[in-house]
Symmetry: C2
Subunit: 503 residues, 2 copies
């Protein structure tokens, strides 16, 4: 990002000469004043349609404002249609912005009933800049599916039968059913080395809600949050919705590059996937784990550990959770039953340090209150009665077979184009370009036209610019789909070159 | 509030002479700078333990800062224990603050591992200033209970039996099950005059989640939101968590006093309970409904209409929803199955104007994703198969009987102390002091010692100061409980005078 800014600096002529007149003692926020000044400059033609606004960093320096203030003003312009954000490129004055302003008049109040008014800044930012989280079609290689398991379904149905009782008259425990929390604690102690009491567990509607709860409690709008780069998009969106200033720290084959931390100001929190970095698949090494924990302890930062797919380890030894290594109560741990059991259950969990329990308890009644009790009781029994380990073994065997099948077919049919990295854990594999293509986005678009979903990893980049990797899901993949999918993908590369961007 | 400030102005000697040195061009926010300046003043003794800080309004004026900036700085001081907020009175320097600062040193970083670090400003504010949302004991007159209905439970159990099928492999629709949305649209069109399509409905985990979704999309941190005064505490907490600047507009027997709107700047949104104002029980009159809608249309404000208990109307004609009167797509409508069916279902709904659907769809995947499908299907069938109206009739008859029983006993046994207002709708009744007591808080505390829950209405005051009303819940109240509860409450008034504050 920093490179981009200095390269493009001299191209920012007119907007660089623009200087807003803001008054810190005014009741209007600085962002609002800057927004009004920019709008005036658009209206009187000082800023032209198509013109690129200076980056928030550059603008903040030149106009002597906080970077967040500039970003907020830009967000309002975008929300109102006077500017557009182009991913990875910057913010531009929208075509027709001047005409729109002269028609609408200067005052916002003169647009009665305009549906564009006042969608929140954070939501606007997510809608206009973040990657869309629209659901992908259930085509071959889509990520996140878990196939049906006959035996598990039968067991769950039988357990559910005895829990149906709509006589229950209450909201349920604000942290979730005690029986489920206790069962989760016992399971994680053995499988992940997580050390906690049931009183530290909050049952949630899956990982996303766990992240949202954590981000709300741990970060104020404008606080900086360090994420892995590339980063899981829904987590990033959730951070953006909570007003966080997102900073990406690169990932290599040993996970988050903690040695680069010293170049950054200490963040309010880290969001990390140490067991199986999403989407790259690296395992955070032990020295780096210790370094991250020491850093968090020293600087008082929180760490949110997303252990989303630790149940599916095929080879090698699983590394225990970061939470289990933490001596200073800085780590919050989250996991989900969406992959390990069923997504339609909408059940996950967040484990918080003892000191934070009161804060989470205080705000939960004002949010979703708690998840429904019925499904919690079904899953609690499934765990307590000992069905979970055998279920996971069956699932793991099936997933390993799917992984090996897909990797084999890709190596057989696409070796000229893709270099496949066999994951030791998880439900996705990463395929790297052998050099015949450089735009993962272009490949992904062409594949989708053929009916195959391969996700471009660059969609998850925060500040890095690698465009040579694709992500393929193998969970819930039938033999038939694996065969058809790889044939179609081979056709994509046969028919088109994708070398346009190499010129 | 305004009166308080001018009265106490001359008592604010030392802090009024304090003048913070803030620099708008610094990368640190103004709030952070103000916080540091205040902390320094505490450390060197310019601000003493027990001293009252100037109100945010006064301070903003004197220090030439936005009021939100001052509030944020105070919140940090409170979060770190250097100041305490006393409800309705102000913010005071905490005892031991100076000692704490000299021990800890000036830099925050020097407190490694301190559990107090960096809970978000909004969460801190809710924890330190708002009313607690801790669950009340299930004693007589607790609010929000709905008793068990044998016939409804049987029907639900039978329907649930045919929906248990854990073969389902997916997350479900991001807006909720289409069948449930369609059934809700049909029900509300007839019962509440709500006009919408199923595409505008978002199924939520109850009212609170609906409010949280709406507030996130419609208000940015610092935006002003007008609420009824007194106001439903969980809604207010949810607004505070979303960083809203809450402004109370008084309520009389015709609901929100819209004629007072002209004295306020236009808010980003209104949060209102027009069918049955919570907690006062007023119905917003038709002229005021039209005035509110015209105002929202003219100023581009949103209105969130919480129609939480419209199913329970005993007397008089129900007034149709505000949403149904809205010609300008400014109203969002929310309701819940927690009272009308069962709280443990965790199901409610939010109906948004067509233009807002994309914004809500864009953010939902980053939050809870969607509610579990199973319970949605059960409730959808319950509605589609026509059981809901008969269920509501049974429930309404039972609730009316409970209301009349409780009102009768209160009038018989507590006429000297309480004047009972018989509600035409809802599951609570308001009892006003006949003059023998003036502190609803003191009565409530004494009643709780006897094992009776009477909620002090002043707990819900935003800026008004009425302390002469109590709220009693009659839903789920047995004859036995009504008898015992009223006897105990009579004892409370016999044994103690509560006249201390009348001197």
């Amino acid at each position: 990002m920093a490179d981009n800014i200095s390269l493009k600096r001299r191209r920012e002529g007119p907007s660089a000469s623009f200087r807003p007149n803001v008054d810190p003692s005014s009741p209007a926020s600085l962002a609002r004043q800057l927004y009004l000044a920019l709008r005036e400059a658009i209206a009187d033609g000082r800023l032209d349609a198509g013109e690129r606004l200076p980056s928030t960093r550059l603008a903040a320096g030149e106009w002597r404002l906080a970077r967040g203030t500039v970003a907020e003003a830009y967000d309002i312009l975008i929300a109102e249609g006077y500017a557009v954000a182009r991913q990875g490129s910057g913010t531009y004055i929208a075509s027709g912005a001047q005409e729109g302003l002269s028609k609408a008049g200067a005052a916002r109040q003169s647009e009665p009933g305009s549906p564009r008014r006042a969608i929140s800044v954070a939501v606007t930012r997510v809608m206009t800049t973040g990657p869309s989280l629209a659901r992908q079609k259930p085509l071959p290689f889509v990520t996140g599916r878990i196939g049906h398991d006959e035996r598990t379904a039968g067991l769950l149905n039988r357990i559910a039968g005895r829990h149906i009782n709509y006589a229950f008259d209450g909201y349920g425990d604000i942290q979730g059913e005690p029986a489920l929390r206790a069962a989760i604690v016992a399971h994680l102690a053995v499988s992940r080395g997580v050390r906690c009491a049931a009183e530290q567990v909050f049952i949630t509607a899956g990982t996303q809600q766990a992240l949202d709860l954590a981000f709300r409690v741990l970060a104020s709008p404008g606080d900086s949050v360090i994420v892995e780069d590339p980063c899981y998009p829904p987590a990033r969106q959730c951070l953006a919705l909570n007003g966080a200033e997102i900073v990406g720290l690169p990932v290599d084959h040993q996970g988050l590059m903690t040695e680069k931390l010293s170049a950054l100001p200490p963040p309010a929190l880290f969001y990390v996937t140490p067991s199986n970095q999403y989407p790259v698949g690296a395992v955070l090494s032990l020295p780096r784990r210790l370094e991250l924990l020491a850093y968090a302890r020293e600087h008082g930062s929180w760490i949110v550990e997303d252990d989303y797919d630790s149940e599916f380890r095929y080879d090698g030894h699983p590394i225990a959770s970061l939470q289990g290594l933490d001596q200073a109560n800085r780590v919050l741990y989250t996991g989900t039953f969406s992959k390990a059991l069923l997504p339609s259950l909408r059940l996950g969990y967040l484990i918080v340090p003892p000191d934070l329990v009161p804060a989470f308890r205080a705000i939960r009644p004002a949010l979703d209150v708690c998840p429904p009790t019925f499904q919690q009781r079904v899953v609690a029994d499934f765990l307590v009665e000992g069905y979970f380990p055998a279920h996971l073994r069956r699932l793991r065997d099936r997933l390993r077979a799917s992984r090996d099948l897909l990797a084999g077919l890709l190596r057989e049919r696409l070796a000229d184009h893709l270099c496949v990295v066999l994951p030791e854990q998880g439900i996705t594999l990463t395929a790297k370009s052998t050099g015949t293509w450089t735009s993962d986005m272009a490949v992904s678009r062409a594949a989708l036209e053929k009916g195959v979903v391969v996700m471009p990893l660059s969609r998850m980049n925060v500040a890095t610019s690698d465009t040579s990797r694709l992500l393929l899901g193998f969970s819930g993949l039938s033999e038939q789909e694996a065969d058809t999918g790889t044939r179609l993908l081979a056709e994509v590369f046969r028919e088109r070159a994708f070398a346009a961007e190499r010129r």
